[in-house]
Symmetry: C2
Subunit: 633 residues, 2 copies
């Protein structure tokens, strides 16, 4: 049984830090992405997403058309883009954008086959190959993203057209896999969580059944992809169908206990599993989710909330393999981890889930976007080494500045939809209780009638104030990093019980609740089981992990070490620094340059004030050394 | 002009440490390798080297025969094996081994074509493909190794048969590339240095001309391999012919200043260049060698004398990219670095060359061999992480125990020939001067008539004594790590001038010279330009780098740090430890296990005596954590 429900997507109007990012999405990223998707943006990888749908429609009508262009999963960008635009519409009134999306949806609708099939890659050409390659062809993945877009657009505008299209598409898939008993499960999980959204929005039981089907049958026959491969003569990339752990089909998902394989696929799958578990009160399935969660959080997650240690398959590797400089830590994977965390919260209300959700958001997710909103990281290393990163084969995936767009453009629209819908993660509700998981400044309207006005300069200030409209209860998360905190109600300090990281406070109309957190900078130490981090220390303030860039430290951070006997000082908020932030001054040492590659002469260290900035703001000032984990001295 | 000449290969009779290893080669490795080469050793990758020659002979006679088996460079194992056996014969009287080699040479001789061509891969089958694929087919590489074997066997036994075969083969190559002006240069350099050996031994000017030709034409046309690729329809592996830096043909070799590409190929090439430079007094060529040497030693060499940072192409990467745990540091590459160092010494007598030669020998080269002589490392990491090394794609090449044999078996016979000929590196001569580059215990007979008896337990003791027979001069290297040292002659301390790392002492018959070196354990610090080693320290005693293994440290070295304010203590020599060695006790700390992957709780450290062993002895006691670079505390 679900412990809480999401608020409506129109329920949160941002201010402060979140507003700044949501405006960036609305003002810059969405228009930019639309130009990319419609091939109007010069000097970036061609997208062709909209043309693909037009060509599919022409193909269905038997008209002359161009070839499909792009990755096999190109359609997913349409889903993610519309989803982001929908959330943005729910916040910002923008008739022009709505018109653009309506037109796009008209184009999409025309690309749907009579039987409900909708995928441009196998409609523009090679219809006979439909559903032959679940391992690689991403048809279910694209459908999932389109369903999410359809749900969001309906919620934002009340317009059903896209949702109707995707319900027909879901029915097509239902017929294929349930009625006609086609074997198999998605190579890239995602449709599971999308079908759960569809079910919750429409009540269509076929969507629930289908989500349950894909989850339940996965891994029951680990050899499915091998049989599938034998039955067809074509491949997309020629993926090895016997890579069971990588494919997350090594065993039935209820038996899993290690997060393996492609990290985005993994976290999408676990999200769908957690969705289904809360919806159907499936304890066994939840237990599997919990084991996977523990494996990630206790053994396979970066201190920045990044997951997926290697670019080989964009994947999880082994416990404690968390290299900083060759990290993959894809932006999408941290977004997926936020999804998973939010669904775990719906199963059990524990602050530890929101802690990770917040960690991923303020660090890896935001690091994915340049401050001007126009360039994006896919890979989020914890150390950048000019001359090696991007230059050496082992570091070939590590870029030291953000590129403009990618052939495989999964991350930018994913970040856009996540940020544009942050209210969905920050707030939820159950009965007469308003849950506050993240300190997102703004006005929140709960479906239960409560309204709150949250005022905070978080994550740059440690105070959060809520003004209540209506009667009920508030449940406010206290982050695990804030050992000390104070709570006051209408000016008087109160001591509400802290249950699993949440404080519960009954509220009446007009009440004012104030929270003061402990945002003293803190040093973070890694487990001795991570071999790469012996003797290293990271620094965080609240949810924000800091990093050291060359540009702030005389061009060189690798010769620096941190004096942990002294506390770092967070400087005043600086409007002019990196679009507005607070840098940090850390006492430390600089090793004097030594002669030769190796020497027996003991190094000389000089005291030095080191400067750190929030990790998510790195790489906004050209090519730079960057390091999160510093040597402790 | 050569500053010194090699001693004859029969000129050094080992005792002490070197004898132990030369006996291991003679008693264990050579018989083992012969069994492998003749397909008599079960449970290892099939070699088929000898059968290949038999089949080639049959093919030449038009008889029925089996297919060629193995890598395209399989013949090179024959050359290296005979070379090692020859050196071993020069030291140990072994008529049985000599008979085996004589028979093998008879087989080889029959596999030579009438025109002098000798390569089983393209004689057993596909004769029409000869010389079509210099990039990949390794014909010149194999010829080089066979020439080296032929030279060594002639020197060891006075038997000319193999040398005659290889002179005919050299003449065939001379006709092909000089007389008939075939374009191109070897994909895998090696024949250059082999031809220089042939020339020096036989005086055959064609060998010198050919070596010079391959060196001079390399990189003049960087597009040669591309043209070659276009002209043929077949490939071995499908190597990209446009990878100029990797192929070391990006520019004429005289213009090179960065060590690039496959590290063994690079160092073999530079060795041949240095050989030619000293032989022909070619200052420009020597200057290129010096630039390459500096680039390696100042920017691209591990503290263990390993080179080649990446398994991607077994190659050099970029300056200061020297990761410990994903190091390639191939055994063969350190052997090749010793070759290069020895040839640089023949150009200019500077201790820095011998320092590196010794460093590579006592660390990476010896680490290549298990103490029982039966298992070998190809890859020599500076950190071994059970659970990650060998398990994760980025670490897939890193083995944590030595395998028995390899499909690509380059390292074991290469280590055998190097160790069996150590006298060639330890000693050399010029006019009436005897040069001592490495402290190799034993009796040395110089061609100039001097004889010395060197007595030392080096590298486990710091005293070296020489007893002189004859009159002349001794030039003894003082290692760069021994800042202090004393020299005495016939019991009285003397203060000979130290010129570029060598002390020169006139000696008369009966003189006794004693050297006492400073073998206090020393901490080694890496340049701040190596990002992976900030805050790290290594420990060495004399030429020996030490490492920490789990088995000596309660199973866990990653939680340990070293207290560099205290000096390590080298324990008494222990006959029973790892075949005889001295372990080291180091004061340090153990971090108490922390709860969770990351914590803000400052770690607790407890004082602990840490145990280290010589790096070359690691991985002789099962699967273990191992670390060279420790955190300094």
């Amino acid at each position: 049984m679900k412990k809480m429900d999401r608020i409506s997507i129109t329920g949160y109007k941002p201010s402060g830090f979140v507003k700044k990012y949501q405006e960036l999405i609305h003002d810059i990223m969405i228009p930019y992405q639309y130009r990319v998707l419609s091939n109007q943006e010069p000097n970036v990888s061609k997208s062709n997403v909209i043309e693909n749908f037009k060509n599919a429609a022409k193909a269905l009508r038997g008209e002359k058309h161009d070839s499909f262009y792009g990755m096999v999963f190109q359609d997913s960008d349409a889903g993610k883009f519309i989803e982001a635009a929908a959330y943005s519409l729910a916040t910002f009134q923008d008739k022009e954008l709505e018109k653009i999306i309506d037109e796009f949806i008209d184009i999409i609708a025309e690309a749907q086959d009579e039987d409900g099939y909708l995928n441009t890659r196998f409609t523009v050409q090679e219809k006979e190959k439909r559903w032959e390659n679940l391992l690689e062809a991403h048809e279910l993945y694209c459908a999932g993203h389109m369903m999410e877009g359809a749900c969001a657009y309906y919620e934002a505008t009340g317009k059903r057209k896209f949702l109707d299209v995707m319900e027909r598409n879901a029915e097509h898939i239902y017929n294929k896999f349930i009625v006609n008993k086609a074997e198999g499960y998605p190579g890239h999980p995602e449709i599971e969580l999308a079908l759960m959204k569809m079910y919750r929005l429409t009540g269509n039981e076929h969507c629930l059944d289908l989500a349950k089907h894909f989850i339940d049958c996965r891994g029951v026959d680990p050899h499915f992809y091998e049989k599938e491969r034998k039955a067809r003569s074509w491949v997309v990339w020629g993926s090895n169908p016997s890579n069971y752990e990588y494919q997350q089909n090594n065993k039935p998902v209820r038996e899993l206990s290690e997060a393996t394989g492609h990290s985005v696929r993994a976290a999408y799958l676990y999200t769908g599993m957690a969705d289904l578990a809360s919806e159907t009160d499936d304890k066994e399935l939840f237990d599997a989710c919990r084991r996977l969660w523990d494996n990630i959080v206790e053994k396979r997650m970066y201190v920045t909330g990044g997951i997926g240690s290697t670019h080989h398959g964009e994947a999880f590797t082994k416990d404690y393999d968390l290299p900083s400089d060759t990290a993959y830590a894809e932006t999408c994977a941290s977004i997926a981890l936020m999804f998973f965390a939010s669904r775990m919260l719906e199963n059990e209300i524990k602050g530890e889930y929101a802690d990770v959700m917040e960690l991923a958001f303020y660090n890896t997710v935001l690091a994915g976007i340049q401050i001007d909103g126009k360039r994006y990281f896919y890979v989020n290393p914890l150390e950048s080494i000019p001359g090696i990163s991007g230059q050496v084969t082992s570091h070939s995936h590590v870029k030291i500045t953000r590129p403009g767009w990618y052939d495989c453009a999964c991350c930018p629209p994913n970040a856009a939809r996540l940020i544009a819908s942050l209210g969905q993660y920050a707030y939820s509700e159950k009965d007469d209780t308003a849950f506050c998981h993240m300190y997102a400044s703004g006005d929140v309207e709960f479906k239960n009638g409560l309204k709150i006005e949250c005022k905070t300069e978080y994550p740059y200030e440690n105070t959060v104030n809520y003004k209540i409209n209506g009667n009920g209860n508030m449940a406010i998360r206290i982050p695990n990093w804030s050992e000390k905190y104070t709570v006051n109600k209408n000016g008087a300090e109160i001591n509400p019980e802290n249950k699993d990281g949440y404080i519960y406070i009954p509220v009446c109309d007009g009440d004012e609740i104030g929270i003061e957190l402990d945002m003293t900078p803190r040093y973070i130490y890694a487990s001795e089981k991570i071999p790469y981090l012996t003797g290293k220390v990271a620094i965080a303030v609240g949810p924000t992990v800091y990093c050291f860039e060359g540009v702030d430290n005389d061009g060189d951070v690798f010769s620096l070490s941190v004096d942990t006997s002294k506390l770092p000082v967070v400087e005043e908020y600086d409007n002019d620094l990196l679009g507005g932030t607070r840098k940090m001054t850390v006492k430390g040492f600089k090793k004097e340059a030594q002669k030769g590659l190796y020497t027996s002469k003991a190094p000389t260290y000089t005291e030095k004030d080191l400067t750190a900035i929030p990790y998510h703001l790195w790489a906004n000032r050209g090519e730079n050394q960057m390091r999160v984990w510093m040597t402790e001295k």
